[in-house]
């Protein structure tokens, strides 16, 4: 691979080695401590029963004889499959819109797409209910007998939730497809449709498969929507919740959680055989120019509006409901619900902002280092790491939360970690590790290996390679990962709810408490405030990043 003998080294080898060790060791250590260890300890619980020593298969045997479990498993699979098909098609459409079209108003559409990511998940459920429930807006306006509870309600809510994640991963794959492919296709007279099939789709299949995995996994493990909109349509996630929160049977809940890992493991095997080491990017690759194309833009634009309009409608309904006196009976406008009854008022939003920033900063660095490590590692090691890095998507948040609580409540690290913001950040990072890792791994495939080798030949060290080759090619994806982690940490609930303490209450938990205590309009108002603050924070950070980038561009001469 590397045919040159390195010339004089610019960096001291000691520093270089230390840096390499740290960059490789730290993410591995973190992955082992904050994902593998809790997963193993909760996995172990599934082989035990309370009050009896020794490992046993009793929980799994009970699961096997449980009356509703086979049906719930079937429901989980069909529902998640449907969501995957829908979210993937819509995500591809939107990714094409953002990366391969000149449609106007793309920024606005991007903002709408991000809504499900910056809002607590309660908002989707509530919005769909207010809109399409039996006494929802649509029913009240048209008199139609709407009934959202069940299969289609679940599909709608989960598809809305998964859509931005699918789009971000596919967009990372579309970030750079070598423009020369398109030039060649044009010379040969291939139609745009042919080009789409043979170049765009073929070149982004890694990202597409990653998106399939993520959408399927987050859908099958989600229980927030299942509880609000599932109605009589019970899925496996209901079972986990019932066992843990309803009957305090953590061992049985763990067993169902382990069951949920199976489809993920299976799909990781399929993915592996489908992607026998596709090559890396080429050093001559340039992002494909977006040529003018009115037909294409019209199609993509209209399609995206059709996809995004329901998303916007769902969230707008919740905001509207937070502004009326008594939904749905007295629709006079009021700000009364923004005056919250919570004892600690809006301070949880600031705690959450702190947590989100910590998660996003540490998380982006760790995931980046891990992705780099996987890229350079031996195939066998890389494969193992890849599985470990993507497995978190298949673990229900509730199971992660309980696993963290039990793993870090006792033991040598407990005194340092229990009740700390740091532990919550770790929990959030590893809850959303798969998405971040897959986004970066997809983006990293565009980095030309040959250029990296060239830098090494010229005596450049790791830092040089990062600065001159890897980062310029992956910067947009790195930013996506940062904002993804930031937003998810602001709104996630299912895992961190087990880690909150009297001092560290989070915004998403506050929303849940308001809703659970019957102050639904206040919950909607609080959620709206969260959306506003996440959007404001994200915007501020974007502006900072742009300014910084400009600053550096002026100072460093263009390498390319």
């Amino acid at each position: 691979m590397n045919t040159c003998t390195p010339a004089t080294r610019v960096y001291r080898p000691g520093t270089e080695r230390a840096l390499g060790l740290l960059g490789g060791g730290l993410p591995l250590l973190a992955l082992a401590l904050f994902f593998v260890y809790p997963l193993l300890s909760i996995g172990w619980r599934s082989f035990t029963v309370d009050g009896a020593g020794g490992p046993t298969l009793a929980n799994y045997l009970r699961l096997w004889s449980e009356p509703g479990i086979a049906r719930a498993a079937w429901h989980s699979l069909t529902m998640s499959g449907t969501v995957t098909v829908l979210a993937l098609a819509a995500g591809l459409l939107l990714a094409m819109l953002f990366k391969r079209s000149r449609v106007r108003g793309r920024r606005l559409m991007f903002a709408v797409l991000m809504l499900p990511m910056l809002a607590p998940s309660l908002m989707q459920g509530l919005g769909l209910l207010f809109l399409l429930g039996r006494n929802g807006l649509v029913h009240r306006w048209t008199g139609l007998d709407t009934d959202i509870y069940g299969f289609w309600g679940l599909v709608a809510a989960n598809a809305i939730y998964a859509l931005p994640q699918a789009t971000l991963i596919i967009a990372a794959a579309l970030e750079r497809t070598d423009h020369r492919h398109y030039d060649a296709a044009l010379t040969m007279g291939a139609s745009p449709w042919r080009q789409f099939l043979d170049i765009t789709l073929a070149q982004s299949r890694y990202g597409l498969l990653a998106a399939v995995f993520v959408v399927f996994s987050v859908t099958i493990t989600d229980f927030g929507n299942a509880i609000v909109l599932g109605g009589p349509y019970r899925v496996l996630a209901n079972e986990v919740y019932d066992q843990v929160a309803g009957q305090m049977d953590i061992n049985m809940g763990a067993a169902v959680g382990m069951l949920l890992l199976l489809p993920a493991l299976a799909s990781l095997l399929v993915e592996r055989s489908a992607l026998r080491r596709a090559g890396t990017g080429s050093e001559h690759a340039r992002p494909a120019d977006v040529r003018p194309g009115r037909g294409r833009d019209l199609g993509l634009g209209l399609g995206s509006v059709v996809v995004l309009a329901p998303v916007l409608a769902v969230f707008a309904t919740v905001v509207y409901a937070s502004l009326v006196k008594l939904w749905p009976y007295r629709l006079e406008l009021t700000l009364a619900h923004y005056h919250t009854d919570l004892p600690d008022g809006y301070t949880p939003i600031f705690t959450s902002l702190k947590l989100a920033l910590l998660t996003a900063l540490a998380g982006t660095v760790l995931v980046f280092a891990l992705t780099l490590l996987v890229r350079r590692a031996r195939p066998s090691l890389a494969r193992g790491l890849h599985v470990m890095a993507t497995l978190p998507a298949a673990v229900p948040g509730l199971v992660i939360g309980i696993a963290y609580l039990m793993s870090f409540n006792t033991g040598p690290l407990a005194d340092m970690l229990y009740g700390s913001l740091f532990l919550m950040a770790a929990c959030n990072l590893y809850h959303y590790h798969a998405q971040s890792y897959l986004m970066l791994a997809t983006g990293m495939r565009a980095v030309p290996g040959a250029l990296e080798d060239a830098v090494t030949c010229l005596g450049g060290g790791l830092l040089r390679r990062l600065r001159d080759v890897v980062l310029p090619f992956t910067a947009p994806t790195v930013a996506s990962v940062f904002f993804f982690l930031f937003m998810q940490s602001m709104v996630t609930l299912s895992a961190v709810v087990f880690l909150v303490t009297p001092e560290l209450n989070l915004a998403s938990v506050a929303v849940m408490q308001l809703d659970a205590n019957g102050f639904v309009s206040q919950a909607a108002a609080y959620a709206t405030c969260i959306v506003a603050s996440v959007a404001a924070a994200a915007l501020a950070m974007r502006v900072c990043a742009t300014l910084l980038a400009r600053h550096f561009q002026r100072r460093t001469p263009d390498v390319a």
């Binding site: 009356p67 006494n135 209901n238 929160a245 009957q247 409540n409 205590n517």
Partner: protein
């Protein structure tokens, strides 16, 4: 450089490592609602100005799961207002230490444990939330009892909490089984289930669905029904006239309490008559003053509520829960 790194590490650790309890501070886990907790704590602070109460508020199920998961190293001094059926689970009850408070001694016997591990100053009863416009739109008569709800006219119009995940769901079933006996009880539950449109994960959700008119009838508990009426929803509360289930909200002192003295003082306050006067704002069942207030009677709470309640043996009810849920899943549930 090295010094700087050390300082930075120390700073980061200092920022993110949790604060440790100091003298006069107690940690309380509670399943009571936020707004009532604020009211009680303000009053408790006046009575015990030197005690700082750290409160963690969780839903009944999450709190029980947390107590079980933290059993290896409990982090709280007090459990305050957790559903008694959960509290009696050996994995939680085993973590409590006996406590004999003067204030509790004069509670009626069903509100305290003879062994002193728990006492319950308050409780709540099953109640129907009936949305009157939705009921009228579906041309249905007002239901008054569980038996009424088994009539075919209510098919698809009733929402109930799922006993697999909700203590409220289980308490309703326990009340019916206790009152009617096994055979007739299960028959009634089966007939009732035929009319249920959906089972919800939480106990307050049926009432929330009913109050916005999603369904005409939601089976919940009195607290949420009265809250819906207070907030202005067109809801009427009905306490079923036959075999109404109820749950007690129990408190106790943890075995490993780090500040047992102050924890004891706080618990004694929650059992005081001063606290009982406040409970009346929220609770349908108060141990020391059994009669409901005029406002509550106006909202639909029977004047002689205590006579209506089945003498439920909570210890037995907690023991049988797994078996009852098992049977419910096989014979009744969707």
């Amino acid at each position: 450089m090295r010094v700087l790194t050390r300082v930075a590490i120390a700073l980061v650790l200092g920022l993110f490592v949790g604060v440790h309890a100091c003298a006069g501070t107690i940690t309380v886990y509670t399943a009571l609602e936020n707004d009532e907790v604020s009211l009680y704590l303000a009053a408790a602070h006046k009575a015990l100005p030197d005690v700082h109460v750290r409160v963690l508020r969780l839903s009944t199920g999450d709190l029980a799961a947390r107590l079980v998961a933290e059993a290896g190293h409990p982090r709280n001094d007090v459990v305050w207002g957790e559903a008694l059926t959960d509290m009696l689970d050996p994995r939680i009850a085993g973590q409590l230490q006996p406590l004999h408070l003067a204030n509790v001694a004069h509670f009626p016997s069903r509100f305290r444990d003879p062994a002193g591990r728990w006492f319950a100053p308050t409780g709540y009863v099953s109640a129907l939330c009936v949305n009157t416009p939705a009921l009228a739109a579906a041309h249905l008569p007002m239901p008054h009892s569980w038996r009424d709800l088994t009539k075919p006219i209510y098919k698809g119009q009733v929402v109930m909490p799922d006993p697999q995940s909700s203590g409220t769901g289980y308490m309703m079933i326990a009340g019916i089984l206790h009152g009617l006996g096994q055979a007739r009880g299960w028959a009634l539950l089966k007939a009732l289930s035929g009319n249920v449109a959906q089972y919800t994960a939480s106990g307050s959700r049926p009432c929330k669905l009913a109050r916005t008119g999603e369904y005409p009838i939601g089976v919940s508990f009195a607290f949420v029904a009265m809250q819906a009426i207070k907030q202005g929803f067109p809801v009427q509360m009905v306490i079923p006239s036959d075999h109404v289930g109820y749950e007690l909200e129990a408190s106790g002192l943890m075995k490993g309490a780090r500040n047992a003295a102050d924890a004891r003082r706080f618990l004694a306050w929650t059992a005081s008559s001063q606290a009982a006067a406040l409970y009346r704002h929220y609770k349908s069942i108060v141990a020391v003053s059994a009669a409901p207030s005029a406002g509550e009677i106006h909202d639909g709470l029977p004047a002689h509520l205590m006579q209506h309640l089945e003498p439920i043996d909570f210890a037995a009810s907690a023991r049988q829960r797994a078996a009852v849920i098992e049977r419910w899943k096989r014979d009744v549930g969707h």
